[in-house]
Amino acid sequence: MDVLLLSRLQFAAATAFHFLFVPLTLGLSVLIAVMETRYVQTGEEIHLKMTRFWGKVFLINFAMGVVTGITLEFQFGTNWSRYSEFMGDIFGSLLAIEALGFFFLESILIGVWIFGWNKISKRTHALVMWLIAFASTGSAVWILTANAWMQHPVGYVIRNGRAELESFADVALNKFAILMFFHTVAAAYVLSAFFVMGVSAYHLLKNRHVAFFMKSFRMALVLGLIFSFFLVVEGHLHGSDLAKTQPTKLAAMESHWETTRRAPIYLFSFPDEQNERNMVQIGPIPGLLSLLAFHSTEAEVKGLKDFPPDERPPVFIVSASFKLMVALGFYFALATLVGFILRNRLPEKRWYLRIMLYSIPLPYIAAELGWTLAEVGRQPWIVYGLMKTADAVSPIAVSQVALSLTAFLLVYGVLGAVAYYLIIQHVGKGPA
């Protein structure tokens, strides 16, 4: 075990764990803001009850998102100091803008929302939740812009032995960042919708609080339906953009070895990285990869063999994450479409409710797979084409990192278990 591997594991653990909480914050804040707005508009008690009930889940989840986010910002300095020195001129400013412009807003307003019920007007209180939703989305914009810059660096010049900012507009309007933002936020909305639908299904199956959970279910269904279909289209755009920006990632996603025209997609394939081929490949659809990547079945798609072996990502992890994520994505669209058809008869359709209950973890898995694809697929680069991960790590003692990684796993394991225990206990009880 060396500092590089341990630092990578630590960052992977910390980000993967952080992202168990972020998407629900993004989506639930919007749903709660809608609920509270309805309460302000109609004065109906049920909307207040919904705001309170889902609000409690939101608060536990939010707290976990905040505390696990803090460590990420500092890890660039502690574990990736060579990276920070080389890229800080650009990368650091994006994190600073996130904190100053958005993270402040949500963190200050969350206290106002919890303790402000009798101190500010109902209207302002609802507005506060809208602002929290706005601020967390704004945070996502800048964090993803920072990540997108690692995926596809733009607007820089190499000067004084480091990457220096040349055009802030290019960095902020990076097309990769925009694609990534819509992908991530749509995924967050789908995850939140499935969470609310799943919990509602649980209570509908038990015939408890039927009106309350019908309303919740249908509200989430609208969000889930819109964004799971949006996600399919947007995911395609995001993927085909990789043909230009990250050809090695695209080739690894499809375990595509030889550069060819009319490149196929296989329904199933398993890579053999040693011998630079696929061990198994079944069900080719000729020209589909060319079509998806370049909008023409005749287009040439670069294969992995065109890149030196030390510039290729691990093929199996990347292709498996990608394919599983896509399959789940189609499943979300199908499940919400069925839900839309059944929307008025939900309490009778117990099979559907049961499916939705057990579907709660699936968008979480899809989101984690998406990040695995994004980050592992970028390897061996920390900044694509510019700096290798191996050159980015801090000159620190291996024992320190081993110790901190162990502590991360322990502390996060315990806190994660407690947080989900509290969330499950609360949602299982139902509204007071």
């Binding site: 803090i70 660039f76 300095g77 800080g88 106002v112 502590a407 502390v411």
Partner: protein, 342 residues
């Protein structure tokens, strides 16, 4: 002043604001096991920090982010050098942050004791270790010409560093006791005032000791000697510290708290005025020291970030002040009866 110098002092200001704001809730966390006598008093303490602690902590995130943006080399060398200390601070802040949210969710004394423990440790570690870290920065740490740290966690625990840790712990404890006195009613209020007075006396002694020790362990007085007018900053800090006790004696708690905030800010500026333009002196060779000039970002980044900071920092202060004003009242039965209160 050039861009780098402006950023140097803006950077110190961000750290100062962090300790001025989060300082009081860290302080209350440290005092929790010593001052609260029953469950109700504990809840008063949690809810006195309740609406504000999260926003306060973002000053730390901002200070970190700005270090990264404006002084990337400093960010890289400082954070990797202080690896273990910083990890302890982060773990402290993690368990502390969730304690607020988790503690009240299960009705069991054992459960609550666990999170009270986390709150105490999670407040103690950042307060002490950040103090130790700052004192070591004033003193210089063993970094070589490549920015590689040639020491361990224990290198930082030298007498001067430890004195810095104690100083910061006392600063936030007094700050926290004053905040609790403002927020609490009845007996707890009285005890908080008494505690603030007692801690203040110790703080005064440690502060004097620290000022003297700095003359031996550091060279920060060189800048002061070169420009004697700078001593005004030390004078203001000392007057603010004396002001804390004076206002306490008069029962003007808010003024005492603001005086304490000025003292904390003064303590942060005190060392860095002495270091300027150095930000992380090397104890091995002064040529290895990181300064505002050799550790900074490009002029373009510094300019853009300055523009953004000049717009956003005042806006943040404005709405944070609004939140402080909204929750300036006592923690009452009504506060404690809120469904989502801590």
């Amino acid at each position: 002043m050039d861009l780098q110098a402006i950023w140097f002092f803006l950077w110190v200001l961000l750290w100062a604001v962090y300790f001025m704001t989060d300082g009081f809730d860290l302080g209350m966390g440290v005092l929790l096991p010593f001052i609260a006598r029953n469950e109700r008093e504990k809840r008063v303490i949690y809810n006195a920090a309740g609406p504000l602690w999260d926003g306060n902590e973002v000053w730390l995130i901002t200070a970190g982010g700005v270090t990264f943006a404006a002084f990337p080399v400093l960010y890289a060398v400082m954070f990797s050098s202080l690896y273990s200390a910083l990890m302890l601070v982060l773990f402290g802040l993690i368990v502390r942050g969730v304690s607020f949210e988790f503690r009240g969710k299960v009705e069991s004394p054992g459960w609550k004791r666990i999170w009270d423990g986390c709150m105490f440790l999670g407040s103690l570690l950042p307060a002490v270790l950040l103090g130790v870290a700052f004192a070591n920065i004033f003193r210089g740490i063993p970094i070589d010409g490549e920015g590689v740290y040639q020491g361990t966690l224990f290198t930082l625990l030298n007498p001067y560093g430890l004195l810095g840790g104690i100083l910061f712990l006392l600063l936030v404890s007094v700050h926290g006791a004053l905040w609790l006195a403002i927020k609490a009613e009845g007996d707890l209020h009285e005890r908080a005032i008494r505690l603030a007075k007692g801690l203040w006396a110790i703080l005064l002694a440690v502060a004097v000791l620290f000022l003297a020790a700095s003359a031996i362990s550091t060279d920060i007085y060189r800048n002061y000697m070169a420009r004697p007018l700078l001593f005004v900053f030390i004078l203001i800090t000392v007057l603010a510290l004396l002001g804390v006790r004076m206002f306490l004696a008069r029962g003007a708690l808010w003024r005492a708290w603001f005086s304490s905030a000025v003292t904390i800010a003064g303590a942060c500026f005190y060392g860095f005025i002495g270091l300027f333009p150095r930000m992380l002196p090397s104890s091995l060779n002064s040529e290895f020291s990181l300064t505002a000039y050799n550790a900074s970002s490009s002029p373009l980044t510094l300019k853009i970030m300055l523009g953004l900071a000049l717009v956003f920092v005042p806006i943040v202060i404005l709405y944070q002040a609004w939140a402080y004003n909204l929750f300036k009242g006592k923690v009452t039965e009504e506060t404690l009866s809120y469904e989502d209160a801590y």
